[in-house]
Subunit: 391 residues, 2 copies
């Protein structure tokens, strides 16, 4: 199932190792409203700089995405190359340059192999409609081990609309999204500013609350297209169906976030770090990220060791306000720490850590704020992937 | 060679796996001046809390140190246990309680095995003088692979004084020292406040500028004892020999820091990250730590891959003020990045990374400040050690 009016193509341009499609094209048969969220890294890839400019118009019709090369730290040439690709797509699809968006992911610092890409664009536009949304999800993978796609069907007015999201993640996933590309398509008409409001709100609660290794990418991009082909009255913040759409986008982005973390490079376990009883929201988030990003916590989880002392140490160095002697820590339902000291349940807690999904709950008893961060364990495989990624 | 008047003993109390001495005792035959620097982690181990209180008097005569158990997150019982050990040492050595210091390193959250420790204290005090300073360096190791000791001989007035430092490190080494214990002993008389000034200044430039995994310990402690047995006029900030002593302590702490990083858990390479041209000191330090703590940078170094894009990404997410297009990055003398883009010397740079000691120089061209941080690569062995540390 795909939202009405969206068609796709994919191609193998040999940017990466041969044997894998590495460019995808998403096309809406009619011009659509578009919203976007981008990396907050000060070093932004050329395609990110270009999309940030284009998104101001709020209109879009095509997205071309390549993996294997990030087109980051490529200077003016990087911008020119991206513009050339956009022009080629626009010309061949007979749409306005301003409605074509571009995203890249992969190695930083190498120029795009334009001699491979420009001919590939030709076959992409010729073959438009021959691939599925799943194929695009597959083509944008880098070190992902599986394509990530989630769809939601919604009753809007008299008909049924569809919202579908695909994404890639795997490495460099950190506080603010990381090398993460996500495309959400819907045939439900959503008013321009409302689309942006919904997307930003959902990203805040999902992609911005996951971490794999604490690094933030130069290329993170989330784009959402609404082409309105369902024919409904455009959704605004005042619409009866606003909450329904927001909830669906929340579920899609949160679901995709969970998939990204489960598929974190080398990850064997999905860990939800839930901090409650924090003084304020900022403290709750800071504490949850400090624990989620601690290498010692992540390796202990990998080793199935309920080594809560490392969690206490991470909390202590996070800079948040709390008192050691008031802190409780649980692994799933096993309260291993009560009032800052051992509750003598380490063995049961270690049993919990043998599972694939673990919830670590930390109660600081310092206030009423809470935050949840998704992370994964850190394994030898992460090291291997990242020591060998480029060579 | 050992500074005059310092004697030692070590014992195997089976706190850790059998076959390894795990408690050391340092004793000065006369009461000495003492200075200390402690972890800034909000969660502080019992021995740290006790030493921080005692150090106010500026006087000390004995230090007892155990490995295998951190006595952290152990509540009131932890404080009582530490006090009991101190009292036993003081009584058996016939010195004041207030001059006996205690340090612990190892697993967090488990109570000290007092039934093993108290009898061990007895043999420690009986055997005082039977071990060397090297033996103590050996007894305080946890996952260190070699004992760490550096001595400097200094001409002070008419005689020769000695300053000797030992330390342990290996894991959890981060911005502010980490599970790092360091003891510096000297027979040179140094006035109390001057001793503290010297130690703080040296620690700032050495132990606080190293990072292995970004985690900060609950137990970090650096203690320096000056017993004055050389018989010199006590050194003050106004003494002709002040600079000489400061320089020697700088060299000892920096040398020990280098040893700690070289012996970082699983490390195969020592990396010096030097940031210059930063707007101010804080930016320089922040940028150097961001690069030093990036898992992607550390794994690339391990893989001998001059993947400077990951360095740019780490700089970009560090929050420091700089412009991508002005940034230069060199690996030893090979400038791989000039003006933010590839200088087409990646192959030579990769050659540099095959060495054991690498200097990464980052010039932000944004100002006149600089900072240097020592770090190491991140390997499968780090994961293995930390996944299996407690179990």
């Amino acid at each position: 199932m795909t939202p009405k009016g969206f068609i796709f193509s994919t191609v193998e341009a040999s940017i990466k190792k041969p044997g894998h499609r590495d460019i995808g094209l998403i096309f809406s048969e009619v011009e659509a409203n578009i919203a976007g969220v981008f990396t907050t890294n000060a070093v932004k890839a050329a395609p990110v700089l270009i999309c940030m400019e284009k998104i101001k118009s709020g209109r879009g019709q095509a997205i071309i995405v390549n993996s294997g090369n990030a087109n980051a730290c490529t200077g003016k040439k990087g911008l020119k190359d991206a513009d050339k690709i956009i022009s080629a797509v626009a010309e061949q699809l007979d749409v306005k340059d301003s409605t074509v968006y571009i995203c890249s992911t992969g190695v930083i610092g190498a120029p795009l192999p334009m001699k491979k890409i420009l001919p590939a664009v030709k076959s992409l536009t010729q073959d438009i409609g021959r691939s599925s949304m799943d194929d695009v999800a597959d083509a944008i993978m880098t070190t992902d081990t599986f394509p990530k796609i989630i769809s939601k069907r919604l009753k809007i007015g008299g008909g049924y609309g569809l919202i579908s999201g695909i994404c890639k993640g795997a490495g460099m996933i950190a506080p603010n999204m990381a090398t993460m590309l996500c495309f959400i398509l819907t045939d439900i008409a959503v008013e321009r500013k409302t689309l942006s409001t919904i997307l930003k709100s959902s990203v805040k609660k999902s992609f911005n609350r996951i971490t794999i290794d604490g690094d933030m990418s130069t290329n993170d991009t989330v784009l959402m297209l609404s082409n309105g082909l369902l024919g409904n009255e455009p959704i605004t913040a005042e619409s009866a169906d606003f909450d329904k759409v927001l909830k669906a986008v929340d579920e899609i982005t949160y679901g995709l976030s969970k998939m990204i973390v489960s598929d974190g490079e080398g990850a064997t376990k999905l860990v939800e770090v839930f901090v409650r009883g924090a003084k304020n929201d900022s403290d709750a988030e800071k504490a949850a990220f400090a624990v989620s990003n601690s290498l010692l916590v992540k390796t202990a989880v990998y080793g199935c060791d309920a080594n809560w002392g490392r969690i206490m140490a991470a909390l202590g160095s996070s800079g948040v306000g709390f008192r050691e002697e008031k802190t409780d820590i649980s692994f799933n339902k096993i309260k291993a720490v009560k009032g800052g000291i051992s509750n003598n349940r380490d063995e049961e807690a270690t049993g919990v850590l043998k599972g694939k999904q673990i919830k670590i709950t930390i109660d600081l008893h310092a206030g009423d704020s809470s935050a949840k961060v998704l992370t994964c364990d850190l394994t030898e495989t992460y090291i291997r992937i990242n020591a060998e990624y480029r060579t």
